[in-house]
């Protein structure tokens, strides 16, 4: 991993069109600003991973028999 030290207000540039800036530094969190083309998706890592996992779960869904489904709906 490339590791760069930046001060408050400083940035790094990636590939001409992405700028990542340090906006604010607090004790336990850092506010980061990203300037990038609008069609470049940017995600918080944990959200990205959670959605990926949920998509994988969706893909292992099965078809439910209507009889099972009706009786279970009645129970709740």
């Amino acid at each position: 991993m490339l590791i760069l030290t930046r001060k408050l207000g400083e940035s790094i540039i990636i590939d001409d069109n992405v700028q990542i800036s340090v906006i604010e530094i607090n004790k336990n969190n850092i506010k980061i600003g990203v300037n990038a083309p609008r069609d470049l998706p940017i995600y918080r890592e944990e959200v990205y991973l959670k959605i990926k996992e949920e998509n994988a779960q969706a893909s292992s869904s099965g078809i439910i028999d209507f009889v099972d489904f009706a009786s279970s709906t009645l129970e709740v």
Binding site: N55, A58, S59, S61, I64
Partner: protein, 144 residues
């Protein structure tokens, strides 16, 4: 072309019915082409069946039908790559997880599929707003 699917047996693929994803369903980058299958005799009724991988299918639902308060606000830039002028012309679907435990049936309101039925293009969009649950339970009151 005939597709031997895991869930629906042999499905015939007509080119004009194939939906192309401009942005993939996250984690399934190699599967960009799907059919929207509707079968009222089964639950869930709607499925996105991959054309690239016959074993891959996702149950989908209209988020508006499971959550009456669901609404999304998209900027025109979000709609550009699927050739849409307005969200009104889109079909919005969310992926469902249907496990063996029926009370755990849920849908992901954070990452809707935005589909342009006229042009047959779609994409999965991840909403930034955390008010949209990734696990929205469909059957019981587990959400409250």
């Amino acid at each position: 072309m005939l597709l031997k699917t895991r869930l629906f047996g042999e499905v015939s693929v007509k080119d004009e019915e194939v939906i192309h994803f401009t942005k993939p369903i996250l984690g399934f980058d190699d599967c960009r082409q799907y059919l929207l299958i509707e079968n009222e005799a089964i639950f869930p009724t709607f499925w996105l069946q991959s054309v690239n991988d016959p074993n891959l299918a996702f149950p989908v639902v209209s988020p508006f039908s499971v959550d009456e308060n669901y609404s999304i606000n998209l900027q025109t830039l979000d709609l550009d790559d699927i050739d849409l002028k307005s969200l009104d012309d889109a079909l919005v679907l969310t992926l469902m997880v249907v496990p063996q435990t029926l009370s755990s049936i849920r849908t992901n309101l954070r990452a809707p599929i935005i589909y342009n039925p006229e042009k047959k293009v779609a994409k999965q969009l991840i909403l930034y707003d955390e008010k949209y649950p990734i696990h929205f339970y469909v059957i019981d009151d587990a959400n409250n």
